[in-house]
């Protein structure tokens, strides 16, 4: 039997408190992560807690197989919990965009941590069995256990998430776990094996380094700017990609600008794609410029006669994210992985200039708004003229063209520029709750006349007919042509939107 001495007793009881706190923190982190990344917080928290408690049960059962060297095993488990729990949040964030089944990995982590924590208390009871009377022992251990739980549940939402974020909180408590192990080793002196001390020290240093290096993936400051929880944020080579969950919806921001909300993006993407697709006799070859989120693609692939789609988006990290992350694959129906789709990660203007292949039947253009001179080039006379070599006689182009309400002159400048490039146009607009009134343009060598012969969730022939009528406050006004050498659109756009943003 291990001999722990008087000082050891107190140490063990205090370690119960820490263990309990840490255990609950890991559980809360896993639950929060799951609801951030997967949504539906009631379901996520409930299943995570269930899985965690069940795993603790498994751990308690497994503890019976520990026959000898209880203290050694306890210290070993303690270090292991610290390491696994400590890195859990960071690892889960990192793999979110790479792993096909995020859920499986998440529950695997919860299970491992649960089992390890589950082993600890029974072992402790057995270690302290000879020191206290049974009633005292049970009373003391569980008192500390439940105080720890209370402490964790208050600490987590009030201090840890706002100030440290999930990744650092996990690492901090990982360090505490390992610290308890180290403390026990030093208090018990020779009764613990020497090797543990080295292991614990290495683990502690490693966690501390990670803590210092880990970016604050989630901070309240950032999250409140988006009115929701920031569940993913990455600076790609070209832009900052942020995913935010609030309530049941997920929103994508690029450089802080809202791209879509899962609540109503179907309205936007149906309006962007189907009118063009229903304007042409054949839609076998479709080109998408921009739209790396695969949402326009999802709508296009609903047309069974579409055999080939080329999607040109500058940002490989964007298209990779929306092709691999399970959450986002649900949103775009896995459209980026379709065998019909070829993704080209190139600069759209340069790609068009170098293109010498067959023309496309439909071209969908979903660029960010013309808020700077670089983006403004993608709305220029030269750009629209360069589209002609990608088109045949009946090709129709559908373009997102900012809001005719918030930026009325900008909208009609885009329409006018397409006309100056020699196209017949059909301007239309519709209310998209996340964006407000939004504008689009169809363009072709002949005037496009879409017939929406299959109803979508939102778009019907009646809806489209209404969309082509502009009320007086958005009606056509004279606007200059946007030229590379005189980018009036960027000035108009900046000026008009500033009235609404400031």
């Amino acid at each position: 039997m291990d001999n722990i001495g008087k000082r050891g007793e107190l140490s063990f009881l205090l370690s119960v408190f820490v263990i309990a706190t840490c255990g609950l923190i890991y559980e809360l982190i896993a639950g929060t992560l799951a609801s951030y990344l997967l949504g539906d917080s009631v379901l996520q928290f409930s299943t995570i807690i269930g899985c965690y408690l069940f795993s603790m049960g498994i751990g308690s059962y497994l503890s019976r197989f520990v026959e000898k060297g209880l203290i050694d095993v306890f210290i070993r488990v303690e270090i292991l919990v610290g390491v696994v729990g400590g890195v859990s949040a960071g690892l889960l964030f990192l793999i979110f965009e790479h792993v096909e089944s995020f859920r499986v990995v998440l529950y695997l982590f919860v299970t491992i941590i649960g089992i390890l924590v589950g082993i600890e208390i029974p072992l402790l009871l057995r270690i302290l069995r000879d020191t206290f009377e049974f009633k005292d022992l049970v009373s003391k251990v569980f008192t500390f256990d439940y105080i720890g739980a209370l402490f964790a549940s208050i600490l987590f939402p009030l201090i840890l998430v706002p100030h440290l974020g999930l990744v650092r909180s996990a690492l901090l408590f990982g360090m505490l776990n390992v610290g308890v192990a180290l403390w026990l080793i030093s208090v018990l002196g020779t009764s613990a094996r020497k090797g543990h001390k080295t292991t614990a020290c290495i683990a502690l240093v490693a966690l501390a380094i990670l803590f210092a290096l880990s970016p604050q993936l989630i901070t309240t400051a950032e999250a409140t700017g988006y009115h929701g929880s920031l569940i993913f944020s990455k600076q790609s080579k070209y832009q900052k990609i942020s995913l935010v969950r609030s309530g049941g919806q997920i929103r994508l921001f690029l450089n802080g600008n809202l791209q879509f909300s899962t609540r109503d993006e179907y309205r936007y993407h149906e309006l962007l794609t189907h009118p063009a697709l229903y304007s042409v006799p054949s839609r076998s070859r479709v080109l998408v410029l921009g739209g790396g989120d695969g949402l326009a693609l999802r709508e296009i692939l609903k047309h069974e006669d579409t055999r080939e789609v080329v999607l040109v988006d500058l940002d490989r990290e964007m298209t990779d994210l929306f092709r691999t992350a399970s959450l986002l694959k649900q949103v775009n129906d896995n459209s980026l992985a379709s065998t019909k789709v070829t993704v080209v990660n190139e600069d759209a203007f340069q790609w068009i200039k170098g293109y010498s292949g067959k023309p496309f039947d439909v071209i969908i253009i979903d660029f960010p708004d013309p808020s700077n001179y670089s983006l403004g080039k993608l709305y220029s006379l030269t750009f629209y003229r360069s589209l002609k070599k990608l088109m045949n006689e009946s090709t129709v182009v559908g373009v997102q063209s900012t809001s005719p309400f918030f930026a009325r002159e900008s909208y009609w400048c885009i329409v006018g520029t397409m006309r100056a490039a020699g196209f017949e146009t059909l301007p239309y607009h519709m209310y998209v709750p996340s964006f407000g009134e939004w504008g689009f343009v169809l363009a072709g060598h002949r005037a496009p006349k879409p017939v929406i012969y299959r109803e979508q969730s939102f778009l019907t022939q009646e809806v489209f007919d209404a969309a082509t009528r502009f009320p007086k406050d958005m009606a056509e006004i004279d606007a200059p042509v946007n030229r590379l050498d005189d980018q009036v659109l960027v000035r108009l756009f900046t000026e008009e939107w500033s009235h609404y943003l400031n």
Partner: protein, 528 residues
């Protein structure tokens, strides 16, 4: 003598320019420039007897814009054999450029203002190379028109749009600038008693009205004084323009030249802003390479012409091949001498009464790991700093259609116009690479704090004789006179116009080409 000279140089270089130690690890780069080792051999003579005798129809000495324009004119008239002898390793003259893994960039002239509608010869060339479609009004290809945003000025801590100071400028100055614009507009439209515009391009098309020509006898600064233009911001701007176009401050440039810069352009074009310019990453190399491919001359580069003489059959040119280190002669029926005046007078032993002076320039191409930004107007094509002795920088990748630009090249222009040309030349030639680089690093630090850490390299080109200086009485009293040239030799250079711009060199090439055609008795329709 030699000691005092050395001491003087040391003071000039370190003291006057303020070239300081860079205080960091050396920046990669090199000094480039004209092949003056070979050019200076002419003075020493001692060329070995020619080992080769070539024959051609017309020989052109000098492959700058004027020489190539002459070659194109002659080729169009059906001249079969055109030989062009060029001192440097490539043709282009002032219109040369370079490139690295990031971008092409200019080493000299880098843009062409939209030509006046009356300049049909130039418009026709631009049409041939698909820069313009000629309808009722010229319509320029958008890709070559300088893209938005064109110009910005760093003044009082922020970048403003355009180069005419506006930020932090008081009402009296605004009124003065408005009056200046009205005066300029008046000059733009004003015609002399001979019915010609006061200011036109080519310069020879301008009015000979004494009221106009009198402007050539005073400096631009004196003209400003006499007309009550006293605001420092306006004077800075006018001085900037004189330095930019002529490498000469407004204290020295003639008022006629200074006003010509503002009032000679009257392009009336379809859609584009008539004040815009045509530009390319590599600068006017783009135009030069198209001139060369239309003219298809038989080019010998790295060759020095050290003598020429009239013969019974025409002209004999004595050349020295600097690469093979041997002499050869070229016999031709006529010769176009497309070199600056100081070389022409030496070759023709023609002692002109008044020699042109030449402005030296330093041009630096700075390769950056990220593009410059700044508070206010975003990175533009031309980026100028108020009250700087440098003329600012041009962004080489400005015309790019790419969405994202990271590594890039900016080209700094520095006419050493604050010194007399000879001193300026000496200072520039005696400065080390790091001393020259430090000028540009200091300028970058001043307006783009932190960007100096993103410098990948700075290459510097020293132009000893970049352009002739249009000081008073150069353009009209001097260049208008006939040069004494040997029989069968015709001069073609912007020096004959007195200002160094593409349009003048292009025009002088055509004029010389047609003179040679006339000399040969070849019938042709005049373009000029």
């Amino acid at each position: 003598m030699s000691i005092s000279r050395r001491t003087f140089l040391a003071t000039s270089v370190c003291g006057l320019l303020g070239f300081g130690a860079l205080g960091r690890t050396p920046i990669p780069g090199r000094i480039c420039g004209a092949n003056h080792a070979l050019a200076h051999r002419r003075a020493h003579g001692g060329f070995s007897p020619p080992t080769e005798h070539r024959a051609t129809d017309i020989v052109i000495v000098g492959g700058g814009v004027a020489g190539l324009s002459a070659a194109r004119r002659l080729r169009d008239a059906g001249i079969q054999k055109i030989s062009l002898i060029e001192l440097e390793s490539s043709v282009g003259g002032n219109s040369i450029g370079g490139s690295n893994h990031v971008s092409a960039y200019p080493w000299g002239a880098h843009y062409l203002p939209l030509p006046n509608n009356s300049n049909t010869a130039l418009l026709e060339f631009l049409r041939q190379v698909s820069v313009v479609e000629l309808g009722s009004k010229p319509r320029f290809n958008d890709e070559y028109l300088c893209a938005s945003p064109q110009e910005r000025l760093f003044i009082y801590g922020k970048w403003q749009e355009g180069l005419v100071p506006q930020r932090g400028v008081g009402e009296p100055t605004r009124a003065e600038i408005a009056r200046f614009r009205r005066v300029i507009e008046d000059y733009r439209q004003r015609r002399g008693r001979d019915g010609r515009y006061y200011f036109d391009i080519p310069i020879r098309m301008s009015s000979r009205d004494p009221d106009a020509l009198n402007l050539d006898s005073i400096t631009m600064r004196r003209w400003m004084d006499e007309n009550g233009f006293t605001s420092p911001e306006l004077r800075w701007y006018v001085n900037y323009c004189c330095r930019d176009d002529y490498g000469t401050s407004y204290n020295e440039a003639s008022a006629w030249a200074g006003l010509h810069y503002f009032a000679a352009r009257r392009a009336d074009v379809e859609t584009a802003d008539s004040n815009n310019v045509l530009t390319w990453s590599e600068g006017n190399v783009w135009l030069v390479s198209r001139l060369a491919s239309l003219a298809q001359p038989d080019v010998s580069v790295g060759s020095l012409v050290y003598d020429l003489e009239s013969t019974r059959k025409g002209v004999r040119v004595h050349c020295f091949d600097g690469i093979l280190q041997r002499s050869y002669t070229v016999d031709a029926r006529a010769c176009i001498l497309a070199v600056p005046q100081f070389l022409r007078t030496r070759l023709c032993r023609d002692d002109v009464s008044q020699r042109l002076s030449y402005a030296p320039w330093v041009v630096a191409n700075v390769t950056l790991k990220k593009p410059p930004t700044g508070d206010g107007v975003p990175l533009s094509w031309d980026n100028v700093v108020y009250n700087s002795k440098l003329l600012g920088y041009v962004h080489a990748r400005h015309q790019s259609l790419s969405q994202v630009i990271r590594d890039t090249v900016i080209t700094y222009y520095y006419p050493l116009s604050e010194y007399p040309p000879d001193l300026a030349r000496m200072i520039a030639y005696n400065a080390s690479l790091s001393e020259l680089q430090s000028e540009f690093v200091a300028e970058i630090r001043k307006v783009h704090p932190g960007l100096d850490q993103e410098i990948a390299s700075i290459d510097v080109w020293i132009w000893g004789h970049a352009m002739s200086r249009p000081t008073p009485n150069v353009i009209w009293r001097f260049t208008a006179g006939e040069e004494r040239l040997p029989m069968g030799v015709f001069a073609a250079h912007s020096d004959q116009s007195g200002i160094s711009i593409f349009e003048e060199a292009f025009y002088q090439g055509i004029v010389a080409g047609e003179s040679a055609l006339k000399f040969l008795g070849q019938r042709h329709q005049s373009w000029a």
